[in-house]
């Protein structure tokens, strides 16, 4: 210590520095330094107080990022887990026209990959005033990769989902479809859109130099995928129904057709087929006729398929018994100024035979003996005039006018299915009362775990009596022997309704058949409707009944229902129902 102090000459007393300087110079320097410090402090305050938010945001932008967590739309299955609709990742290809810099060859190959017209593509890319233009949406992942491989500047991609319908046209009307924004437009996709649609989540993360996510900054908002749905439809039965219907519509040169298969015990819809149809995967040009789900959204005058309900009511009220004889000769009946008639005149018929032979006169005579209110109540209880609650878009109510305004002629025609309108699904549902010992079942398009409780409409005894009449109608001597299925007893009723055009009945027909099998213990109810058959035949028994036989027979086989009839008893030649058509 001492040595150091010896060497140390006090700085201020150094003679070399003893120069006289004006005092203001040091003061100026002091001031300058002070100003510099003040400036620094001001800058610090500016940065840390006034622009703090901005700077923090900027900083965060360089390492933190919010990632969207996409949620996929739920799948739709049939009752056995077969996929009917599923979402797969796809890409939207978009461009910033100003930035696009592509050689003509690149544009040509891009147009080819995206399957759009080259001129159209050029036009899109030359729209200088737009900063964003979609070139094509819902591009398959494989194609999108090849687009990316072209490495054109200004062409970008964005992930999205594309909906696939592997079952195609067979299920088009049931499943429906979504638009490019993944929102349901038709069918189940529309009806259950809120459930099917997922809720996307997000997370805030820190990324490292390589762009890898290394930390979550805040709690992750989990994405919720859409719920998967299991329909009540059986894809095998659906195909069988669809195939039989298509063949019938085409061979009869009909305008359209629809078929419904219902599980007679649970009320589940096993099949719902429509023709014409469309491919939901390629919806280029769709017409309204193709899109319409006729079984649910179209109403028609049912014709004779309504007769069993009139007879059931008469039996309920004790007005007749199955063996009561009613005179139907000479095949016409005058009610006021109007006359109704039978297609073929019959003599005296029992009530059973009236159903079997489908006599309008007989049914009308029975109906005119009943109060209009009772008939109206019966129709209403059966669900006519009210939209069925099956959770499906576009289900129509049909039309049953209030009984107070019925004139006698109207009451008479309504008893055999004219003057009111129903949808095929309503009609099929109403037949559950016969198949189910008098109880009307609620329908469901979705798989139900336990059979729902029915609503009693008629007595079990009445239901069984009508069931027997329906079995006669579908047997030899009835209107629809072609409804027979080898090995099973069937019951059902034909309908051949004149169509109305401009308020008058014209020579266009709507052939229908509603029935169930096996008659001893019904398992399936099948309703078939063929609109305007134009190949000569138009009776429900000739046009719709064979379709019923084919669908019901195949369905029972698919459901492994044991036969309830000895095969030797068959009224129809022992060829398969298909060959019989």
């Amino acid at each position: 210590m001492t040595r150091r102090s010896n060497r140390n000459v006090p700085f201020a007393s150094n003679p070399l520095l003893r120069v006289k300087l004006p005092a203001w110079r040091s003061q100026v320097v002091m001031l300058m330094v002070a100003i510099a410090f003040v400036a620094l402090a001001a800058r610090a305050v500016w940065l840390q107080v006034f622009s703090q938010n901005f700077l923090q945001k900027q900083g965060e932008m360089r390492y933190a990022k919010t990632i969207e967590l996409p949620a996929s739309r739920g799948k739709i299955f049939d009752r056995n887990g077969v996929v009917l609709a599923s979402s797969l990742p796809a890409r939207a290809v978009w461009a910033i026209p100003e930035e696009v810099d592509a050689t003509p060859r690149q544009v040509a190959s891009l147009a080819k990959l995206l399957d759009i017209d080259e001129r159209e593509l050029r036009r899109k890319l030359s729209e200088e005033d737009r900063s964003f233009v979609y070139l094509k949406r819902q591009v398959d992942a494989a194609v999108a990769e090849r687009v990316a491989a072209l490495k054109i500047t200004g062409i970008h991609q964005q992930p999205e989902y594309k909906r696939y319908y592997p079952q195609g046209e067979t299920f088009a009307h049931v499943v429906g479809f979504t638009n490019v924004e993944d929102v349901g437009q038709e069918g189940v996709e529309l009806a259950r859109n809120p459930e099917l649609a997922g809720r996307p989540g997000s997370r805030r993360v820190i990324r490292d130099r390589l762009g890898r996510v290394i930390e979550d900054v805040r709690a992750v908002r989990e994405p919720h995928n859409g719920r998967d749905l299991a329909l009540s439809i059986d894809s095998k039965i659906q195909f069988l129904a669809f195939d039989a219907l298509r063949e019938a519509v085409q061979s009869n040169k009909a305008k359209a057709g629809a078929a419904v298969v219902i599980d007679a015990r649970s009320g589940e819809v096993l099949a719902l087929a429509n023709w014409p149809t469309y491919n939901p995967n390629q919806r280029g040009q769709l017409s309204g006729a193709q899109l319409r789900n006729r079984a649910i959204t179209d109403t028609f005058e049912p014709g004779s398929t309504m007769k069993p309900f009139t007879i059931a009511l008469a039996l309920e009220l004790g007005e007749v018994t199955p063996s009561t004889v009613i005179q139907t000769a000479p095949g016409r009946l005058a009610i006021g100024p109007n006359t109704i008639g039978d297609a073929h005149p019959h003599g005296p018929l029992t009530v059973e035979q009236i159903v079997q032979k489908s006599s309008n006169v007989g049914t009308a005579k029975i109906a005119l003996g009943m109060p209009a209110r009772k008939m109206w109540e019966m129709y209403t209880e059966l669900g006519f005039g009210q939209a069925p609650r099956i959770g499906f878009p576009g289900a129509v109510a049909g039309r049953v006018r209030p009984y107070r305004s019925w004139r006698p002629i109207e009451q008479a025609t309504m008893s055999y299915g004219y003057g009111l309108s129903v949808s095929l699904l309503q009609l099929a549902r109403a037949y559950t009362v016969f198949a189910n010992d008098g109880e009307l079942l609620p329908l469901s398009m979705f798989k139900v775990d336990e059979p729902p409780s029915g609503q009693p409409v008629i007595a079990a005894k009445t239901a069984r009596a009508v069931r027997q009449m329906l079995e006669m109608a579908a047997g030899p001597g009835g209107t629809a022997p072609q409804a027979q299925i080898a090995g099973y007893r069937v019951a059902g009723k034909t309908g051949t309704a004149h169509k109305r055009d401009g308020g008058r009945y014209v020579n266009k027909y709507l052939a229908s058949f509603v029935g169930f099998a096996p008659a001893s213990d019904p398992r399936v109810i099948v309703a078939v409707m063929v609109d305007e058959p134009a190949a000569g035949k138009y009776y429900g028994g000739l046009v719709a009944a064979p379709v019923f036989a084919r669908i019901a027979g195949d369905s029972l086989r698919t459901l492994r229902v044991p036969p309830d009839a000895p095969i030797a008893q068959l009224a129809v030649p022992e060829s398969t129902p298909k060959e019989n058509m």
Binding site: Q167, G487, D554, P562, P563
Partner: protein, 120 residues
């Protein structure tokens, strides 16, 4: 005093290094889980894709045409069907409905068909 200081600073350095390593390892593991999750998502997409493809290939209409046209198969008819019933108690198998004599009659053509070679 000095020794304590040295010891403490050594400890401090060790702790700091430990912190750095553990942070590094945490991030590494995090990256691994991220990667695994991404793979899970990819596999899920692949599974969905395969499911769709399987359904498209196993479509009833496709099988129906192939069976009819290429394999010349026929739909099952009731005349050629024997229904067997498995007894729930002793697991014996017997002919079920339709009536036994009808079933017996149904066996005959089937047996004849077998000896004559499969009908096309």
């Amino acid at each position: 005093m000095t020794r304590a200081n040295i010891l403490l600073s050594a400890l401090l350095v060790a702790c700091a290094l430990g912190l750095v390593t553990s942070q590094y390892r945490a991030r590494k593991l995090f990256v691994d889980t991220e990667r695994a999750q991404a793979q899970a998502a990819r596999l899920e997409v692949g599974w969905n894709q395969l499911q769709v493809e399987q359904t498209a290939l196993a479509k009833a209409s496709l099988i129906d045409t192939k069976a009819r046209r290429e394999l010349a198969m026929q739909p099952v008819s009731a005349e050629r069907t024997l229904h067997l019933v498995v007894d729930p108690v002793d697991r014996t198998v017997r002919l079920g409905t339709p009536l036994p004599e009808v079933a017996a009659a149904a066996v005959e053509p089937a047996a004849r068909a077998r000896t004559a070679g499969a009908p096309r």
